[in-house]
Amino acid sequence: MSEHAHSGGGGGPRHRTVELAIASATMLFGLIVIYGSIQAGITWGVEGPRAGFFPFYLGLLIVGGSLVTIAQVLLASDRDRLFAEWGQLRLVLAVIIPALVYVAIIPWLGIYVASALLILVFMIWIGRNPLWWSLTIGLGLPLVTFVVFERLFLIPLPKGPLERMLGF
């Protein structure tokens, strides 16, 4: 998918920068795993290999693989390739930010109200869909979900003040 040719103007972050950032992040993750394994004990105990024995080597492999990736990126020649254009990233953020707000408000508002809000916000502001269509999906889907989960399959989902007010 990353070979997708992006034509047109518009700058953006370089692919190389993102690659290096990710490889550094995986290396940090590997170091954390190594640290945690040493805490748990990587030696041979009375009961055999101790809890950190196996993860320790995983950490080493992660750090090693990350270093190889960093070296490969530094040696690669396509320095000017873009990761994505700013316009594209704005679209991606337009999903990530509402989605993060959505998962954050689920514990307070319950999943049904939060879902309705997410769909309405997304369909009206980002998708510019007609209002009646947005309302149909935005209110319809949570209602259908409610019937399917709470009534048919008896699986309780998180509920908030609205559901309490209605007596569920």
């Binding site: 998918m1 990353s2 997708h4 692919h15 993102v18 990710i22 995986t26 993750f29 795993v33 945690g36 748990a40 041979w44 105990g45 055999g48 290999p49 101790r50 809890a51 950190g52 196996f54 993860p55 995983l58 950490g59 492999l61 992660i62 090693g64 693989g65 990736t69 490969q72 990761f83 994505a84 594209q88 990233l89 679209l91 991606v92 337009a94 999903v95 990530i96 509402p98 989605a99 959505y102 998962v103 954050a104 689920i106 999943i111 879902s115 997410l118 769909i119 997304f122 369909m123 980002i126 998708g127 869909n129 889907l141 979900t145 399959f153 008896l154 699986i155 309780p156 989902l157 998180p158």
Partner: protein, 502 residues
């Protein structure tokens, strides 16, 4: 022929009316999942898994495996009508499928694809019927060292066979293993890698990872590409189907070859995609119509589709017989088995006869039902793709959140799922393969257990992995798979040098 008797018993289970209904529901849901961007077999099944907790395991697996068949069929619809491969193994289908559709032969192209898929799957199911019990029987003799060597082979194949850079495959896989290691150590009962966070006590559930990595990650990628679907309209009527079938008879050799390549590649993890390309390439070389491939020749659809479906189906062989899934979707099905209280592995053939043979029987019937459903309902499914993405995206987000919540009834899991989604988007953009990570999260604990138990038995000596013919052979195969790209280039060098010497 004990297998046949068991199989007929399986058919009797599957043919109960409510199971047939579940089968139909599964196929329809599966095709929808396969057609929608952002939902694939793996995360679609992961999201629907909680709905099956209350069902008897046999009914549940029938429905879920039918979702899988449906998703496999669905991938061909998007590939042919919209030139968008719904799954990576549909890429080769677009080469000839989309040109055919553009020439106004969309109905023929779809019929060819569906029929080929059906043939590929059918050959693979026949293979599973006879080989799975044999392998399971053989595996009953496995000790921890043998099991570890099979895990080693599984993961080594990812490194050697995947197109991604080996360093990235290893990093992605090891992160999966590390995530699986978080929490309570199953052997010593000690806590590890939790760093004092109580929410990490139980570790990371792979279902949450699958929903995030594949579901949310996919939506973000689709969003970035600003999907504007411009598809070809298609109608299928009985006349088109009949004529296409008559023509397809001529390509039986390609179909058989594709099925065999698919079965062979599918047993190895991640084999469906290389299998479909390999089959396309081989057919192009061997077929008298090879020169016409790429311009919209039906044989160019037969080759990759038979292979992809045979591979997708035979990926279930190691899952049923050894408890080792060959693909992320098989991994999710395996996760389902654990939740329903079944222990996957060779013992299933002894202890859970009805379940295993019910599953195998449902593979036969599911593919027949699937073929009928897709042939009759194509326009309906293609219409789904014309729904604007700004409607599909939030709806799928909500479904992912519900799916993630219901796994453990935990709102924290929903947050973790979102984080996995963002990470998945970044990793995918940078060519890190996600399937090895998911499989490592699923198999991490078992692989570690096998590793430590073998070392315990040998007092810490690694020689146990070379201690008998069986375990050494599997380990050697694993090493070959691991260094396959290196071996291949060495062989090529050696060949050119030999030629120069003449």
């Amino acid at each position: 022929m004990e297998e046949l008797a068991n199989l007929f018993h399986g058919f009797a289970v599957v043919l109960q009316p409510h199971n047939i209904l579940l089968m139909l529901a599964g196929i329809v849901l599966g095709v929808i999942i396969g057609v929608l961007p952002g939902l694939g077999g793996a995360n679609g099944i992961a999201i629907l898994l909680p709905l099956t907790f209350a069902m008897p395991p046999t009914s549940a697996i029938i429905m879920l495996s039918c979702i899988y068949w449906g998703a496999l069929f669905g991938g061909a619809i998007t590939a042919i009508l919209f030139n968008i491969p719904g799954e990576p193994w549909s890429v080769a289908t677009t080469f000839d499928g989309h040109p055919m559709a553009q020439q106004g032969k969309a109905g023929e192209a779809l019929t060819t694809a569906f029929t080929s898929s059906f043939i590929g799957a059918f050959v693979a199911v026949v293979m599973i019927t006879f080989f799975a019990p044999l392998i399971a029987d053989f595996a009953l003799k496995f000790g921890p060292a043998e099991f570890f060597s099979v895990y080693f082979l599984t993961f080594a194949s990812f490194v050697g066979l995947d197109k991604s850079p080996p360093a990235k495959t290893i990093v992605s896989m090891m992160i999966g293993f590390a995530l699986a290691a978080v929490g309570l150590d199953s052997i010593t009962g000690q806590l590890r890698l939790t760093f004092g966070f109580t929410s990490l006590l139980n570790g990371f559930d792979f279902l949450i990872a699958v929903i995030g990595l594949f579901g949310i990650g996919e939506i973000l990628i689709a969003m970035e590409e600003g999907l504007a679907f411009r598809g070809v309209r298609a109608g299928i009527n009985p006349k088109v189907v009949w004529q296409t079938w008559k023509e397809l008879l001529r390509y039986w050799k390609t179909a058989l070859l594709g099925s065999i390549i698919g079965c062979w590649m599918g047993i190895k993890p991640g084999g469906a995609t290389p299998g479909s390309f390999m089959s396309y390439g081989v057919a192009k070389k061997l077929s008298p119509n090879g020169a016409k491939f790429g311009s919209g020749h039906p044989e160019g659809i037969v080759a990759p589709e038979t292979a992809a479906h045979a591979a997708g189906t035979s990926a279930l062989l190691p899952m049923i017989s050894l408890g080792i899934p060959g693909s992320p979707t098989a991994a999710v099905l395996l996760g389902g088995l654990l939740i329903w209280g079944l222990q996957p592995g060779p013992l299933m053939f002894v202890e859970q006869k009805e379940f295993v043979w019910g599953l195998i029987a449902s593979m036969y019937l599911g593919n027949v039902v699937g073929l009928i459903v897709v042939l009759t309902c194509v326009p309906l499914f293609a219409a789904i793709l014309r729904i604007p993405f700004s409607v599909i995206a939030p709806v799928i987000l909500v479904l992912c959140a519900i799916g993630a919540y219901t796994v453990h009834n935990s709102a924290f899991d929903v947050v973790v799922m979102m984080l996995f989604g963002v990470v998945g988007y970044l990793l995918r953009k940078c060519d890190y393969p996600l399937a090895p990570m998911v499989l490592a999260i699923v198999l991490g604990d078992k692989a570690e257990e096998a590793f430590r138990q073998s070392l315990l038995a040998s007092q810490g000596s690694f020689a146990i992995f070379w201690s008998n013919g069986l375990v050494s052979t599997i380990m050697a195969l694993g090493l070959v798979a691991l260094f396959w790209p290196l071996i291949q280039s060495l062989l090529a060098q050696w060949r050119t040098r030999a030629r120069q010497a003449y």
